[in-house]
Amino acid sequence: MLFGDSARAFGTLGVVLLLLLAIVPARDFFSEWYRYQKGYLRLIRGRDDAITLQRRFEGGIHQTWIPELGVVDRCGSCHVALKEASLRNVGIQPFRPHPPIPHSLDEMGCVMCHRGQGAATTVEEAHRSAKESEDPMVPARYLESSCGQCHMDKPTGIPRLNAGRTLLTRYGCVHCHSIVLPDGVKLAPTDDPPSLQHVADKTTREWIFAWIKNPQAYSGTATMPNFQLKDEDARDISAFLIAQSTMLASSAAPASAAASDAAALQAGASMYGESFCASCHAIQNAAGLLVGGNVGPELTRIGTKAKPDWLRAWIGNPKGYDPETLMPHYRFDDKQLTLIAGFLENKTDSDFMANVKLDQATPRQVAHGKLLVTEMGCAVCHEINGIHRPDNFAPDLTAVGSRPLAKIVFLPEMPRTLAAYVEAKIKEPRSFGSALKMPQFNLATGQVDNLVTALLAQTDRARTLPARLRVAGHASSNYEPAGAAGRLMRDLNCFSCHSINGRGGDMAPDLTWEGSAVQRDWLLKFFKNPNTLRPTLIRRMPKFNVTDQEAGMLTDYILAVYQTPAFDRDSPQPASDASQIEKGRQLFYSKYACQACHIVDPQKDKGYIGPTLTEVGSRLTAAWIFQWLKGPQTLRPGTLEPDQQISDSDATSLTTFLMAQKGHAKTQEAKHK
């Protein structure tokens, strides 16, 4: 009857159309952001500061537009209380104020850090975009990844990102994957996989077999990943590695038989201790805990791995085998060498290679091993004779944080997020297919999270940000000391622990201005017999057995070259009259309470955070002490001692007091005991 009575149809349909059209504005009225704003007004109604909050509240859609960052944020339409600090104890989103951060919300917007779709005004679209090409919000767990879009320095407050970036280089990820930071600096690996060109000098085929099958069985801290090799493949690879190895003349030093009696072992153990090998190397103690540093490899099973001749040659001169090694060249004499090598050779583990029985390698095995080594990319990390280092071996991860989900193959039952994918890929790479080359790394959950954080920072947006936002990382210095002293410093590998002019490790004090700080006699003596200055330190400077001539040369070089331009080390010492000393003592003990951290009188003082000051008067120059008291951080950035704003006169008195601490008698006594 549609057209039977067109008037009736016209009237009825007109009403229906009107009702339908009335729904259109209703949809706006019931929009999510409007509902949340009403909820906010309900929430603040009962509060004491309701009037203030209501006055500050503005209805409607709130937009932050930052054209130069490409940010359009409407998050504030629902998160209306981002700047209301007084609502800090409101545990309900979206009404929580933003916790304090070093950036202004108006200048950065929300999506720069939290990602997600800032332009959306619905919960679902803004937080978890349904479109595969659009960024969902980054989970709080990986939030620090956003900091890495601008920060190439390593500020405190983002430990996860900093640790993650360190892991990327330390675990050698960047050997295979190329990763360029947003500021254009390509990450370089900081691990140092050994060259395998002379591997047969060092170890046996059986050890290689057992090692590549499971490196962590040999050493729990080994960074080499597990390639999950089949027995035949490990057999062939070990055969090839032995076959390609060439012999180094230096490794074939004649060996006097290592003494293995108990007394010699005991002497070797104390040699190991005296040489402070534990500063860098760890050995499992009886309880199975690792004792020692993690700079060098773990030595618990070194006797199983290293051939005795090689071990002696290596300790005798590490650079003879590996010119790039961090290990210092101890000047051990033959007897010492025998003792310490004997001690290490005894560090064996019969279980490690118990089941390894390898027949003579056939040429076919060697050929197959070479094929495997080539295919698996061993030469990306290790130098191997006859195999070129492959370029572009694994996918470039420079923009992995912006990889569209459409380009990702997810495993079934896996959350369809980039973070989940990257995490799974790091945790169990082979779960994506046994034919994949990426090996299994030995990482703790926290480390995986850190790596994911560092990788998610590699976004497309990061590279398009204005350059003024970028905070560059510390450029690595390639400082090289010159001359004979320079050669000696390289031989002793001072830079493994000490940092000078921006180059070197952070295990020991920065020596950039050491020449201004110390007195000649003390330094000379210190080289001959390094004693530690800090009572609680585990890592200590080893005794390198340098000759008098070497020690003298090094001392002169340091005093001459490593001088701060800020003051003259030889500026006259303040008069050391007793009253000044007494005043200094008063200041030391009461006004500044230095004994909280330092020891001047070993009988009385107990503080052991800072160096012991019992003989500081014969160690440091007066000028250095004075300047140090005036501002420790200006002399050695990052040092723990707080700047106490000590006045000149107080500093003078304290300097006088400290310079009076010669401490000869006491140390002599201590030595006699």
Binding site: L2, F3, S6, A7, A9, F10, L13, G14, V16, L17, L20, L21, I23, V24, R27, K131, E132, S133, E134, P404, A406, K407
Partner: protein
């Protein structure tokens, strides 16, 4: 209408020539136009109201759709990333489906051009404007032509493996043969079919093929233009 009256105005159209209205007026009479008052209605309000009602119905349908069914919006266009399958708008999917069977020149150019040309010339193609049933005259001769054309077409379609068009072709051909049988004691439907002219058959074949191709392209084509069942996700 059947009883003869002395003055009868007749309107006829001679379709072979340009159609004109001719009033035959008998000698010594004047033309008398009989107003068919019951046949005509005033445009206002009868016609206009009907149009308004139709527009209201249409508006209601479209507004309802718009209220409860959002227009699609995918991610930002990315030339680096082709969705699989990349589909044209639905009304071109028949064409895209044809491209799956024929080389581009045939499927993308020849066939559409022919279709448009055919549509344009239909009214000028002065065959059978009276719309007489295809089989009412020269049945034997027409059957032979029909057999030749349909066979050629089927062979052509089989050679190109165009199963999607083959099916309606066979179906329509069968219907034509069904209509072509002797018209004794024909049922209502067949009597109706018998009266269909050639153009009806061609258009119906075109409509069926186009609908089927569009439907297949829209619903049954997945990644790599492979066949998928829409209900199997």
């Amino acid at each position: 209408m059947s009883d003869q009256k002395p003055f009868q105005a007749a309107i006829e159209s001679d379709s072979r020539k340009a159609p004109v209205r001719i009033a035959f007026v008998t000698r010594r009479t004047s033309p008398q136009v009989k107003a068919e008052s019951d046949q005509y209605v005033m445009t206002w309000p009868e016609g206009i109201f009907r149009v308004l009602v139709v527009c209201e119905v249409l508006a209601i349908i479209l507004v309802t759709m718009s209220l409860f069914w959002d227009a699609p919006l995918e991610g930002l266009a990315d030339p680096m990333q082709t969705p699989n399958p990349a589909k044209a708008p639905w009304y071109f999917l028949g064409l895209q489906e044809l491209l799956h069977y024929f080389p581009p020149v045939v499927g993308g150019v020849l066939i559409p051009t022919l279709v448009v040309l055919a549509l344009v010339i239909i009214p000028y193609f002065n065959v059978n404007v009276e719309a007489e049933g295809l089989w009412l005259r020269n049945r034997g001769k027409r059957l032979r032509i029909f057999a030749a054309v349909v066979l050629a077409l089927i062979v052509f379609l089989i050679v190109f493996e165009v199963w999607a068009v083959l099916a309606p072709t066979v179906l329509i051909a069968a219907a034509m043969l069904f209509a072509a049988r002797e018209a004794n004691n024909a049922g209502r439907f067949r009597r109706w079919l018998i009266l269909r002219p050639l153009s009806f058959w061609i258009m119906t074949w075109f409509l069926a093929s186009a609908s089927l191709l569009t439907g297949i392209g829209t619903f049954f084509r997945g990644p790599g233009w492979s066949w998928v069942w829409p209900w199997k996700e």
